[in-house]
Protein backbone atom coordinates (compact mmCIF):
# COMPACT_ATOMS: atom_id res chain seq x y z
CA UNK A 1 0.00 0.00 0.00
CA UNK A 2 2.79 2.37 0.95
CA UNK A 3 4.70 1.58 -2.24
CA UNK A 4 1.63 2.02 -4.44
CA UNK A 5 0.66 5.37 -2.91
CA UNK A 6 4.24 6.66 -2.86
CA UNK A 7 4.95 5.61 -6.45
CA UNK A 8 1.68 7.06 -7.76
CA UNK A 9 2.33 10.37 -5.98
CA UNK A 10 5.87 10.55 -7.41
CA UNK A 11 4.52 9.81 -10.90
CA UNK A 12 1.79 12.42 -10.59
CA UNK A 13 4.01 15.22 -9.31
CA UNK A 14 6.32 14.55 -12.26
CA UNK A 15 3.32 14.70 -14.64
CA UNK A 16 1.90 17.98 -13.24
CA UNK A 17 4.66 20.38 -14.46
CA UNK A 18 4.81 18.69 -17.87
CA UNK A 19 1.10 19.40 -18.32
CA UNK A 20 1.73 23.08 -17.59
CA UNK A 21 0.06 23.20 -14.19
CA UNK A 22 3.14 24.17 -12.18
CA UNK A 23 2.29 27.89 -12.13
CA UNK A 24 -1.05 27.42 -10.34
CA UNK A 25 -1.02 27.82 -6.52
CA UNK A 26 -2.99 24.59 -6.07
CA UNK A 27 -0.37 22.71 -8.14
CA UNK A 28 2.42 24.02 -5.90
CA UNK A 29 0.40 23.02 -2.85
CA UNK A 30 -0.19 19.54 -4.28
CA UNK A 31 3.52 19.11 -5.03
CA UNK A 32 4.38 20.24 -1.48
CA UNK A 33 1.82 17.86 0.08
CA UNK A 34 2.94 14.99 -2.17
CA UNK A 35 6.58 15.50 -1.23
CA UNK A 36 5.62 15.65 2.45
CA UNK A 37 3.61 12.43 2.09
CA UNK A 38 6.45 10.70 0.22
CA UNK A 39 8.98 11.73 2.89
CA UNK A 40 6.62 10.46 5.61
CA UNK A 41 6.20 7.16 3.74
CA UNK A 42 9.97 6.79 3.26
CA UNK A 43 10.50 7.58 6.95
CA UNK A 44 7.90 4.98 7.93
CA UNK A 45 9.43 2.35 5.65
CA UNK A 46 13.12 2.78 6.26
CA UNK A 47 13.79 4.62 9.48
CA UNK A 48 12.14 3.95 12.78
CA UNK A 49 8.47 3.20 12.71
CA UNK A 50 8.59 0.00 10.65
CA UNK A 51 11.68 -1.27 12.47
CA UNK A 52 9.75 -3.96 14.26
CA UNK A 53 7.61 -6.36 12.23
CA UNK A 54 3.86 -6.43 12.61
CA UNK A 55 3.05 -9.92 13.78
CA UNK A 56 -0.72 -9.84 13.85
CA UNK A 57 -2.54 -12.77 12.35
CA UNK A 58 -5.22 -10.80 10.56
CA UNK A 59 -4.49 -8.86 7.39
CA UNK A 60 -4.77 -5.16 7.96
CA UNK A 61 -4.54 -2.37 5.44
CA UNK A 62 -2.95 -0.01 7.92
CA UNK A 63 -1.64 -0.93 11.34
CA UNK A 64 -3.47 -0.03 14.49
CA UNK A 65 -3.98 -1.37 17.98
CA UNK A 66 -4.66 -5.02 18.62
CA UNK A 67 -8.24 -5.89 17.80
CA UNK A 68 -11.15 -5.24 20.14
CA UNK A 69 -14.18 -7.44 20.59
CA UNK A 70 -17.56 -5.99 19.66
CA UNK A 71 -20.72 -8.10 19.40
CA UNK A 72 -18.60 -11.25 19.65
CA UNK A 73 -16.38 -10.38 16.69
CA UNK A 74 -12.83 -9.14 16.72
CA UNK A 75 -12.25 -5.89 14.88
CA UNK A 76 -8.87 -4.55 13.88
CA UNK A 77 -9.30 -0.89 14.77
CA UNK A 78 -9.05 0.95 18.07
CA UNK A 79 -11.93 3.20 19.12
CA UNK A 80 -10.10 6.39 18.12
CA UNK A 81 -9.42 5.13 14.60
CA UNK A 82 -13.02 3.96 14.38
CA UNK A 83 -14.21 7.48 15.28
CA UNK A 84 -11.78 8.96 12.74
CA UNK A 85 -12.98 6.77 9.86
CA UNK A 86 -16.67 7.12 10.70
CA UNK A 87 -16.19 10.89 10.99
CA UNK A 88 -14.52 11.08 7.58
CA UNK A 89 -17.31 9.00 6.07
CA UNK A 90 -19.95 11.31 7.55
CA UNK A 91 -18.15 14.50 6.49
CA UNK A 92 -17.71 12.97 3.04
CA UNK A 93 -21.44 12.26 2.74
CA UNK A 94 -22.19 15.77 3.98
CA UNK A 95 -19.81 17.30 1.44
CA UNK A 96 -21.20 15.13 -1.37
CA UNK A 97 -24.66 16.57 -0.59
CA UNK A 98 -23.40 20.16 -0.59
CA UNK A 99 -19.84 20.76 -1.75
CA UNK A 100 -19.89 24.43 -0.66
CA UNK A 101 -20.71 23.54 2.93
CA UNK A 102 -17.20 24.27 4.26
CA UNK A 103 -17.02 27.58 2.41
CA UNK A 104 -20.44 28.55 3.76
CA UNK A 105 -19.30 27.50 7.21
CA UNK A 106 -16.18 29.67 6.89
CA UNK A 107 -18.21 32.65 5.65
CA UNK A 108 -20.76 32.39 8.45
CA UNK A 109 -18.13 32.03 11.21
CA UNK A 110 -15.46 34.37 9.83
CA UNK A 111 -11.83 33.47 9.13
CA UNK A 112 -10.57 34.17 12.66
CA UNK A 113 -13.04 31.88 14.43
CA UNK A 114 -12.62 29.29 11.66
CA UNK A 115 -8.84 29.23 12.25
CA UNK A 116 -9.32 29.02 16.03
CA UNK A 117 -11.70 26.10 15.52
CA UNK A 118 -9.26 24.46 13.08
CA UNK A 119 -6.32 24.69 15.50
CA UNK A 120 -8.53 23.40 18.32
CA UNK A 121 -9.65 20.44 16.23
CA UNK A 122 -6.10 19.62 15.08
CA UNK A 123 -4.80 19.82 18.66
CA UNK A 124 -7.23 17.19 20.01
CA UNK A 125 -5.43 14.04 18.86
CA UNK A 126 -1.83 15.19 19.62
CA UNK A 127 -2.87 16.21 23.17
CA UNK A 128 -4.88 13.03 23.72
CA UNK A 129 -2.17 10.83 22.17
CA UNK A 130 0.60 12.43 24.23
CA UNK A 131 -1.50 12.02 27.38
CA UNK A 132 -2.17 8.36 26.59
CA UNK A 133 1.50 7.64 25.90
CA UNK A 134 2.45 9.32 29.18
CA UNK A 135 -0.09 7.19 31.09
CA UNK A 136 0.48 3.62 29.81
CA UNK A 137 -1.99 2.11 32.30
CA UNK A 138 -4.85 4.10 30.76
CA UNK A 139 -3.74 3.44 27.18
CA UNK A 140 -5.09 -0.11 27.20
CA UNK A 141 -8.64 0.87 28.06
CA UNK A 142 -10.88 1.51 25.07
CA UNK A 143 -13.73 3.91 25.70
CA UNK A 144 -16.15 6.14 23.84
CA UNK A 145 -14.04 9.25 24.58
CA UNK A 146 -11.47 7.96 22.11
CA UNK A 147 -14.08 7.66 19.39
CA UNK A 148 -15.22 11.23 20.10
CA UNK A 149 -11.61 12.48 19.89
CA UNK A 150 -11.07 10.65 16.59
CA UNK A 151 -14.39 11.94 15.28
CA UNK A 152 -13.52 15.55 16.17
CA UNK A 153 -10.07 15.25 14.59
CA UNK A 154 -11.54 13.84 11.37
CA UNK A 155 -13.11 17.25 10.74
CA UNK A 156 -9.62 18.81 10.53
CA UNK A 157 -8.99 17.36 7.06
CA UNK A 158 -12.23 18.86 5.77
CA UNK A 159 -11.66 22.19 7.53
CA UNK A 160 -8.16 22.45 5.97
CA UNK A 161 -9.66 21.51 2.59
CA UNK A 162 -12.28 24.28 2.99
CA UNK A 163 -9.58 26.77 4.00
CA UNK A 164 -7.44 25.89 0.95
CA UNK A 165 -10.44 26.29 -1.37
CA UNK A 166 -11.22 29.68 0.23
CA UNK A 167 -7.61 30.84 -0.21
CA UNK A 168 -7.31 29.53 -3.78
CA UNK A 169 -10.54 31.23 -4.83
CA UNK A 170 -9.41 34.44 -3.14
CA UNK A 171 -6.14 34.52 -5.10
Amino acid sequence: MLFIVGASLIALIIILPTLGYNSQPIALLVILASLLAIFADIYILYKDVAKKPITHKKFRLIPCHRGFVFFGKEFILCFRCLGFYIGNLLWGILTAMDQYIWNDFLMSFGLTYYLILLFGVIATVPIHGAWLRSHPSKAKKQNILRSIIGFIFSASLWLIGGLIIYLIRGL
Binding site: A33, A40, W158
Partner: protein
Protein backbone atom coordinates in the same frame (compact mmCIF):
# COMPACT_ATOMS: atom_id res chain seq x y z
CA UNK B 1 15.91 10.55 23.34
CA UNK B 2 13.48 8.65 25.59
CA UNK B 3 11.16 6.15 23.83
CA UNK B 4 8.05 7.95 25.12
CA UNK B 5 9.29 11.34 23.88
CA UNK B 6 10.23 9.88 20.53
CA UNK B 7 6.90 8.11 20.12
CA UNK B 8 4.99 11.29 21.05
CA UNK B 9 7.00 13.38 18.56
CA UNK B 10 6.57 10.87 15.71
CA UNK B 11 2.85 10.53 16.53
CA UNK B 12 2.31 14.31 16.48
CA UNK B 13 4.29 14.80 13.25
CA UNK B 14 2.43 12.02 11.45
CA UNK B 15 -0.93 13.36 12.66
CA UNK B 16 -0.05 16.82 11.30
CA UNK B 17 0.99 15.22 8.00
CA UNK B 18 -2.39 13.45 7.97
CA UNK B 19 -4.31 16.69 8.45
CA UNK B 20 -2.34 18.71 5.85
CA UNK B 21 -2.05 16.03 3.15
CA UNK B 22 -5.67 14.95 3.61
CA UNK B 23 -6.83 18.58 3.47
CA UNK B 24 -4.98 19.15 0.18
CA UNK B 25 -6.49 15.91 -1.18
CA UNK B 26 -10.00 17.10 -0.29
CA UNK B 27 -9.34 20.52 -1.83
CA UNK B 28 -8.12 18.82 -5.04
CA UNK B 29 -11.19 16.61 -5.30
CA UNK B 30 -13.54 19.55 -4.68
CA UNK B 31 -11.78 22.11 -6.88
CA UNK B 32 -11.01 19.62 -9.68
CA UNK B 33 -8.16 21.81 -11.02
CA UNK B 34 -6.31 19.30 -13.24
CA UNK B 35 -9.17 17.66 -15.08
CA UNK B 36 -11.36 14.91 -13.68
CA UNK B 37 -9.05 11.89 -14.03
CA UNK B 38 -5.81 13.49 -12.83
CA UNK B 39 -7.53 15.32 -9.96
CA UNK B 40 -9.24 12.14 -8.82
CA UNK B 41 -6.00 10.15 -9.04
CA UNK B 42 -4.13 12.83 -7.08
CA UNK B 43 -6.87 13.02 -4.47
CA UNK B 44 -6.88 9.23 -4.02
CA UNK B 45 -3.08 9.23 -3.66
CA UNK B 46 -3.08 12.10 -1.16
CA UNK B 47 -6.00 10.79 0.90
CA UNK B 48 -4.53 7.27 0.87
CA UNK B 49 -1.25 8.67 2.11
CA UNK B 50 -3.06 10.68 4.80
CA UNK B 51 -4.86 7.57 6.07
CA UNK B 52 -1.59 5.57 6.07
CA UNK B 53 0.07 8.34 8.11
CA UNK B 54 -2.89 8.28 10.51
CA UNK B 55 -2.59 4.51 10.98
CA UNK B 56 1.13 4.70 11.60
CA UNK B 57 0.77 7.64 14.01
CA UNK B 58 -1.57 5.43 16.05
CA UNK B 59 0.85 2.50 15.79
CA UNK B 60 3.99 4.47 16.74
CA UNK B 61 3.87 3.68 20.42
CA UNK B 62 6.84 3.64 22.74
CA UNK B 63 7.22 -0.15 22.48
CA UNK B 64 8.56 0.41 18.95
CA UNK B 65 11.50 2.40 20.27
CA UNK B 66 12.52 0.30 23.26
Amino acid sequence: MQPITKSIMIGILLVLVTAFVGGVGIAVVLLNPFGEVLSLALAIGLLGSAFISWGWSCFARKELYE
